[in-house]
Amino acid sequence: MTETSNSKYRLSPFAKLAGVKVNRSEKGFSQCVIEISEQTYNLQRTAHGGDISTLVDCGIFYAFHPFLSKDEAIRTVQLQINYFAVAASGDLVCESKIINKGKRIATLESEVKNEGNLVAEATGILYINKVKDD
């Protein structure tokens, strides 16, 4: 299992399992990386579509997370991914940026690249909910 080299950001258990690393997480921008390995292959020995969607889901999360106040949480409402190319080796780099931030709904956009090639493009919608204090 790939351990995160960057302990600055809290990673979810599934992100750790998938080998996601967070390079940057700022208000409205994030850069997340997955190293393509045996573990993340599909049967055709290229990066699994599910692995790329996990990377994108993490990407939009970390691009929005810095906006949140202590009593707010986000959940993904919709994720649409367009796959353009297969990737068999190297890193998958996902750069996400915010398109619109509403009071309750935020829309973000991601691009996944492998060695400079555009592998996938995605749009994600997040819902911002208030966490009730007990």
Binding site: R10, S12, P13, F14, A15, L17, A18, E38, Q39, T40, Y41, N42, L43, Q44, H48, G49, G50, D51, S53, T54, L55, V56, D57, C58, R75, T76, V77, Q78, L79, Q80, I81, N82, Y83, V86
Partner: protein
């Protein structure tokens, strides 16, 4: 014939890593399950990661479509759209996938993910079918 494809499908490294298992695979239909364990959570003691659900969907859809392909055909995900409706916290996520249409080159597949009977997500996928050259 179809039976023998189960292990092959679950043998995909990423499928193994996420723990997705097929319980049925037939004529453009698949039934795949993923146990909600600590490893697939978005946050400790939280709900299942969106990426884990998307993985379950991609694997389930791939399995359903595989049943309609010959040994000389391969598929690629072209588009995946997942609408998340409820957050699974425990139990098992069940993904039922159905091929809506399989053309010569493009196939469209639809999935529903249920957790304890509640519809947790609904997804549509588009796949591109490539032919391998017979040797």
């Amino acid at each position: 014939m179809v039976q023998s494809r189960y292990p092959e499908f679950e043998n995909s490294p990423y499928t193994k890593l996420t723990g997705v298992k097929f319980t049925a695979l037939e004529d453009g239909y698949s039934h795949a399950v993923m146990k909600v364990t600590d490893a697939v959570l978005g946050f400790p003691n939280g709900s299942v990661h969106g990426g884990a659900i998307a993985t379950l969907v991609d694997v389930g859809m791939g399995g359903a479509l595989r049943t309609l392909l010959t040994d000389y055909e391969l598929m690629r995900t072209v588009q995946l759209q997942v609408n998340y409706l409820a957050a699974p916290l425990s139990g098992v996520c069940v993904c039922e996938s159905k091929v809506i249409r399989k053309g010569r080159k493009i196939a469209t597949v639809e999935s529903e993910i249920r957790n304890e009977g509640i519809l947790a997500a609904k997804a549509t996928g588009t796949y591109y079918i490539t032919k391998l050259k017979k040797e």
